[in-house]
């Protein structure tokens, strides 16, 4: 429902602002692999993983006021549910990842490729329950919220051949600032992070509409002062947080 509201909000904007293209991506089984690791002492090291497969939605809005310049905004979000987490503590984890990207793009000389320069933000929430640590149940249900902001550079290319099209882009980003809610003292690596995102799609075009198959791949690493202890010795957060996101998708685009 939230996604539908976002889409309706976009369509309700003045037509002048929407001169360009809006694309909606539905990812029916997006794989989001999380690995948290870092500062805590436990036999065998401290790491845990969760690999949910949930639906996800992406929205892309490209606005091109001239052939020399275009603006683009992208939004990606999964629909999280509790999944089993394994590692130095076991339990259930609900993992949500939201990525927002906004960029400027302009053609490279004598080329059909566009250079991309943008700003990005990532939000992740890690909610745990039914935690078992050293065979002891943990009553707490910690929620760690991660935030990161940074910049990225990339390249974009695409072409339309009569009734068919292809489009793709690749970006590499760095997070200059990172925050989390379940903070702990100590540790070593506690700030910065990086990302990359890749999208490839191809399909059929009819007038202003395009229907395609796409593949989205992303990696987000957010380093924070994590490692906060719960009463049983389990952890509510970890400093090194890696999210791998990949999925095929169905795309529907409309050019204004």
């Amino acid at each position: 429902m939230k996604y539908l509201a976002c889409l309706l909000l976009m369509l309700a904007l003045p037509p002048g602002l929407l001169a360009g293209e809006v694309s909606l991506y539905y990812l029916p089984q997006a794989q989001l692999q999380y690995e948290g690791s870092g500062y805590r002492q436990a036999s065998g090291g401290w790491t845990f993983k969760v690999k949910p497969q949930d639906p996800a939605l992406a929205l892309r809005w490209r606005h091109a006021p001239s052939p020399a310049a275009a603006w683009q905004a992208q939004f990606i979000r999964n629909a999280p549910q509790f999944e089993r987490s394994v590692g130095s503590q076991t339990g259930q984890m609900r993992l949500a990842l939201t990525q927002l990207m906004a960029d400027f793009r302009t053609p490279i000389a004598n080329s059909s490729v566009e250079a991309v320069l943008g700003l990005q933000g990532a939000w992740a929430s890690l909610e745990q329950k039914d935690i078992m640590f050293n065979s002891t149940p943990e009553a707490a249900t910690p929620l760690d919220r991660l935030r990161a902001a940074g910049a990225y550079i990339g390249a974009h290319a695409g072409r339309t051949h009569r009734k068919f099209f292809w489009d793709g882009e690749f970006t590499i980003g760095h997070y200059f600032t990172t925050r989390n809610s379940q903070r702990a003292a100590g540790g070593s690596i506690t700030r910065y992070g990086y990302s990359y995102w890749f999208r490839a799609e191809a399909g059929y075009r009819s007038g202003a509409w395009r229907l395609g198959l796409a593949y989205l791949r992303g990696l987000v690493r957010i380093d924070v002062p994590g490692g906060k202890t719960l009463p049983t010795g389990a952890t509510a957060s970890l400093p090194i947080n890696k999210f791998d996101f990949f999925s095929p998708a169905i795309s529907l685009s409309y050019a204004y």
């Binding site: 002492q41 490279i108 004598n110 590499i172």
Partner: protein, 276 residues
Amino acid sequence: MRIKFHTIFLAIIFIPYIAGAMEVSLTDLPNASIRYRADGSAMPQSYVTHFSGESSPVYRLEVRQKPSADGYWGLALWHAGEFGGGAYGMETIPDAATGGTYQVNKLNVGFTNLFLTYRRPLADYPVEFLASVSMVRQIFRRKQFIVDGVDLRPSGLDDVDETSAEGLGVGLAGRHGGRFYLRWETLFNYYIQIFDAQTDCSAGQIFLAEAGPGMRLTDDFTIEAGGLWQYWFILRQGNRRLFANAATSGAIISWNRNQTLTSGGYIRLNYRFGNK
């Protein structure tokens, strides 16, 4: 036949002269700050290491083709470390199991990185788009160990530990002005490990930003001064130990997750060959 370092250096300098129109630049950060942070499952003593940081010169020798609207290539060799005059800092590894300190040693963090970069101007802006491939190698030199209370300094025990990664990068660069100019460059690199993989070959990132004003002294020679900041995160096989003494569990010489920040002021000399 033994080939000395200065022979290789001079050969690189004179290759562009022989080949025709090219540029050679030498960038030096005479007193860069290198701050290293790491953690990993070095059980049972610790999960983290603390490094005091070090001062080290950083060198970059770069050869570029003559700039062209259809694109041109550049090759840059970076080096920092003891070989280039880098100092040692103090590494301290706490003993989280019993309290106190498990290990103290001197550490020098260095690197030798090679970047092959393709540069092409943007169509409508005075900026270049960069695409690079690179091979990077980080080098950790340790000496003067005190491990679990046993002073191993008289034994002369030391160690060199290295890791490498291979990456792709994209970036932007610009140079604005005439005789007096401002140059800037930023490069985002993503790394995998083809030869030195952990279970996951995803290896990390180098993010680089540099900027500074410069002046053209002659038609072919420019001098520039500015600042550079480099972030480097690399995953690797950690928890390696060096046999130190039968009474100890060994000296910890590698970590799983490694972050190195390099920053400092630079001087850059640039000479253009074959411009006549």
